[in-house]
């Protein structure tokens, strides 16, 4: 029978193996701690975007516009959301509110939900069914879009909900699959520009001529790209109608 020491978990460690076990244990712990630290410091700062449950439920009234992604041009605001502002909406989970908003296009509607906020960008996640959006009394019209010309932009195509704070991080390659699922669910896409365009670094992005985000764009989501398109101001929000033929990875 061999005299080599043999480790059994429920018995005291053999003398000849103790040093090796202590060394291996210490190296394993230090290695794991170092790997965790290295992975942590290599990550980008996820920013301050978040669900603002602390603001409470937000209920405002405004005019619905389809870009085709639905927007609300606020006519009667509250403490947080002022009249004259324009914002995007989503439903719970990875879903948009196109189906609920489409019958109200051009009409005054009351919307209610919880805010997601990242800096100047915010969105409302609506409550379910008619509690989230319904026709309301009042008057108002969709403001005439202001054509700001054709622009060449660099930045990233994201889903507006996660970017606004539903996920942390809500952008970048690690978030690509989630972003694509959100976009397939009709969550409004948002372009994050490297530098502000007419005062805003976040633009709602659509396809050309009032179409939804082109299929070609899905392969570029979460990567840094350059793209050309028409920029229009819809209320207080910029809408970027991208030209898919100009989409390319940023150098």
């Amino acid at each position: 029978m061999s005299d080599k020491p043999f480790f059994v978990g429920y018995l005291p460690a053999p003398g000849g193996l103790r040093g090796c076990l202590v060394l291996a244990g210490a190296l394993l712990m230090l290695g794991m701690a170092a790997a965790g630290f290295a992975l942590g410091v290599a990550q980008d700062d996820p920013g301050e975007g978040a669900f603002r449950f602390d603001y409470g439920r937000q209920t405002v009234t405004g005019v619905v516009e389809l870009t085709p992604y639905p927007l609300i041009h606020v006519t009667e605001g509250n403490d947080r959301i002022k009249a004259g502002e324009t914002f995007m909406m989503s439903a719970g989970g990875k879903s948009g509110v196109d189906g609920r908003a489409a019958p109200l296009a051009g009409q005054v509607a009351q919307v209610s939900g919880v805010m997601l906020e990242r800096g100047d960008l915010y969105m409302l996640q609506l409550r379910g069914g008619r509690n989230g959006i319904r026709a309301a009394e009042g008057s108002g019209a969709v403001p005439e879009p202001q054509d700001l010309g054709r622009w060449r932009l660099a930045g990233e195509i994201c889903d507006g909900k996660c970017l606004s704070g539903a996920m942390r991080p809500g952008r970048g390659l690690a978030h690509k699959a989630c972003a694509n699922l959100c976009l397939l669910g009709d969550v409004p896409p948002v372009f994050v520009s490297t530098q502000p365009v007419e005062g805003s670094e976040f633009l709602l992005i659509t396809g050309p001529d009032g179409t939804a985000l082109p299929e070609a764009a899905y392969d570029y989501v979460a990567q840094y790209v350059t793209v050309e398109g028409q920029v229009r101001r819809h209320g207080s929000l910029l809408v970027f109608a991208m030209d898919p033929d100009t989409l390319a990875l940023a150098p």
Binding site: D147, R150, A154, G155, L173, L181, L184, E215, Q223, E228
Partner: protein, 121 residues
Amino acid sequence: MSIAPSLIFFLQVWGGVGAGVALLFLAWGIDRIDEDARGAYVFRVLIIPGILLIWPLVLWRWWQLEAQSGRWLARYQPVRRAHGLAALAMSVAIALIVFFGLSARQDWPADIAPVRVETGS
């Protein structure tokens, strides 16, 4: 169809076939190949997610056991040398994937400023 909808479609088809296999296997097949499972039903619900994922393997093992073509002794052999090589290759592959993934990562093109190509109407 771009890559993202294609992936979703593939997963839907994979899961749909897996659900069919799970129904067939748990309602009928498992009683034929595992006598210990006969009369036991609650655990079958627990293995549905696994069958959805690896249904080709389930079908293959089911067929092996039905046809008694599997080498049952092989299941009790110690880890073979090929497994060690595979483990080593996977470890190296993971390290290489992380390395090349980080190498291919783009830098935020902060120096590319927005340019107005044409003025608005």
